[in-house]
């Protein structure tokens, strides 16, 4: 698979909490924002507290959001963002085809009941989709399972197995395979390390799958004619 990538000046993803200035956004958010053409119409599925939407709006992008938690929605609406309460698993069906230029699913895929259906819906509603997720193939995960014999817990995923909302973990390799299966074209892929910095570009997949803490993918519908 051919991938087109570009190095970006990124801030740390998990910086110590500090009063946020305009430049103080999460690394994966800045990466996502960079992938989106100005003037686009964007739906952020699972938009949390609306940090990414605020970043997008500050760049002149028309952003809308869906968020499952009532607290998150109300904080977003309180910030003046166009966010509605909803569930990625059940509510995406209500959106018409081609309603958005981009649909973003940031750190949410692993928490959906039907990741494959959700992914298909993203690319039905949006002409492009941007999906980021924690990589379960990350070396720290592997070590914890291999050596400790217990379900992994990391700085970014501290929940125990019995109270985590993340019910469908996958590795970067798994995700690439799913994209192939459902006829999705990868426009761009980036793996970020534990600090939100992109891994080197010409690394092989196994390297990303081992050392990427999360993967960020820009996807589009594969043109039907090019597929067998």
């Amino acid at each position: 698979m051919e991938l087109q990538q570009k190095v970006l000046p990124l801030k740390s993803a998990v910086a110590t909490p500090a009063p946020r200035g305009t430049q103080d956004y999460r690394g994966d958010h800045l990466l996502v924002a960079e992938m989106i053409k100005p003037g686009s119409k964007v739906l952020d599925v699972g938009c949390g507290d609306g940090d990414l939407l605020q970043l997008l709006e500050s760049r002149g992008i028309d952003g809308r959001g869906i968020e499952l938690s009532r607290e998150g929605v109300n904080r977003c609406v309180g910030k003046g963002l166009a966010v509605v309460q909803g569930d990625a698993d059940t509510d995406l069906i209500n959106y018409p085809d081609d309603a958005f230029d981009y649909v973003i699913l940031s750190q949410t895929l692993q928490a959906t009941r039907q990741p494959r259906v959700v992914l298909e819906n993203l690319l039905r509603i949006g002409r492009s989709a941007i999906v980021s997720f924690p990589n379960f193939g990350f070396w720290k995960m592997r070590v914890q399972l291999l050596v400790g014999g217990r379900m992994p817990r990391t700085e970014n995923l501290p929940a125990t197995w019995y109270d985590t909302p993340n019910i469908h973990f996958c590795t970067i390799k798994d995700f690439v395979q799913l994209c192939d299966e459902i006829n999705v074209k990868m426009e761009r892929a980036v793996a970020l390390d534990l600090y939100g910095r992109p891994l080197r570009l010409n690394a092989p997949w196994w390297f990303w799958n081992m050392f990427g803490e999360q993967g960020v993918f820009l996807l589009s519908r594969a043109s039907k004619s090019s597929q067998p």
Binding site: R70, N74, V77, V84, N94
Partner: protein, 400 residues
């Protein structure tokens, strides 16, 4: 002795409160024979008048006007002492200096709805053609009729586009109707605890209320003014039934439980032994002092007929397709009159139409009435929504 009088006779006589009907303590926009209002039922209503209040100052380019739409039994006295009840305005939680609808920044307009009984033309008004009270000769009106009348008021004030239309319950219906009928005239819309159509259950409750009014022998086929009677029992029972639907099981339990009213033991009668009974009777009694029975019939009917999608081949999303209005909808978890699911349907339709919409569900046990009460999260979100809309509209923003 068994006391069967549920609702006491009004202290304010109907003929006394009729002063407010034709000559209200409000501003009045009068529309003559040359400006008829074409009603959905096919009748041209002329002349007619709309009573209204304003708060704050209209800015030079007339871009800071907000229209507040009232609910079924509300009126134009949003943020001033009510001339009939002597009580504070019904939405002073939301409207006032420094409030979400900040009277220091916005020009707030609120009008009594067409069909109401606080100065806008309705069944209690005098029919100028006959010199008699309209009564049931008044044509049946709809929510779109009310909104058309409001649009004529806004025209008469020289305002092209409203910065925001705001309303809860029936006021929210008017708000949504404004955006469907005049999308280019509404920059933003805040619709709370409402829907684009009245549900079967809500129509059923309204029918119960109307039947209670009409079953009262003092209703006299709607001609109680002429006959010198007043259907206070029927209207009181209608209000009692409706009031239950505005609350929630949890709120009633919290406020009253099974506590007794001024007594330790049951009286083994049909007196108001329980606090909740006494409360409901009070609600009924105080309502009949300020509201016209026929007006209640007409306004509940208007809500029943409301269905925006029906005017667009059953497709709600078509009613809002590509409107530029910024929407904010809110619902309350314990509201069983306009439950969250109904707001969610509206949100889905707006999303499908590509409209910019925010939707928040507020957790409270206060039921449908929560929009009238001090519910901080609701008030905060309303303020934040207006603030962000104001910044896009180029109006002064608080905390910028």
């Amino acid at each position: 002795m068994v006391n069967v009088e549920l609702v006491k006779s009004p202290v304010v006589r109907p003929d006394e409160r009729r002063q407010e009907v034709d000559h209200p303590t409000s501003l009045v926009a009068a529309f003559g024979m040359d400006q008829p209002l074409r009603l959905d039922c096919g009748v041209d209503l002329a002349p007619f008048q709309i009573a209204y209040q304003t708060y704050g100052t209209l800015n030079a380019d007339k871009s800071n006007a907000i229209l507040v739409c009232h609910a079924l039994t509300g009126d134009q006295h949003v943020a001033n002492i009510n001339p009939i009840t002597g009580k504070p305005g019904w939405w002073q939680t939301l409207v006032g200096p420094g409030k979400a609808l900040d009277t220091e920044r916005y020009f707030i307009i609120s009008s009594n709805v067409l069909g109401g009984c606080m100065g806008s033309t309705g069944p209690a008004s005098t029919n100028p053609a006959t010199g008699k009270i309209w009564g049931l000769d008044f044509p049946v009106i709809t929510i779109p009729d009310m909104v058309r009348a409001q649009a004529m008021l806004i025209d008469s004030l020289g305002i092209g586009q409203l910065f925001c239309v705001v309303g809860g319950s029936m006021g929210g219906m008017q708000t949504l109707q404004w955006t469907a009928a005049y999308p280019e005239r509404v920059f933003s819309a805040l619709a709370v605890a409402c829907s684009t159509r009245h549900s079967a259950q809500n129509i059923a409750f309204h029918e119960l209320g109307r039947q209670a009014v009409m079953a009262d022998p003092d209703w006299r086929g709607g001609r109680y003014f002429e006959e010198g009677t007043h259907p206070h029992r029927g209207l009181g029972v209608a209000r009692m039934a409706a009031h239950i639907t505005y609350l929630s099981d949890a709120a009633l339990h919290r406020k009253f439980g099974r506590r007794m009213q001024d007594r330790e033991l049951p009286t083994f009668s049909f007196d108001a032994d329980f606090q909740v009974e006494s409360y409901l009777r009070y609600q009924g009694s105080s309502f009949v002092e300020r509201f016209d029975a026929n007006s209640y019939l007409y306004l509940t009917r208007a809500m029943d007929y409301f269905d925006i999608a029906a005017d667009h081949d059953g497709k709600l999303s078509e009613a809002f397709r590509d409107t530029q209005t910024r929407f904010c909808l809110m619902s309350f978890t314990s509201d069983w009159l306009f439950p969250t699911a109904e707001s969610r349907d509206v949100v889905h339709a707006l999303n499908a139409g590509g409209v910019r919409v925010s939707f928040a569900e507020i957790e409270t046990d206060k039921g449908h009435d929560a929009f009238l009460l001090d519910v901080p999260e609701f008030l905060d979100i309303a303020g934040a929504f207006l603030n962000s809309a104001a910044s896009v509209r180029g109006l002064p923003v608080v905390g910028a």
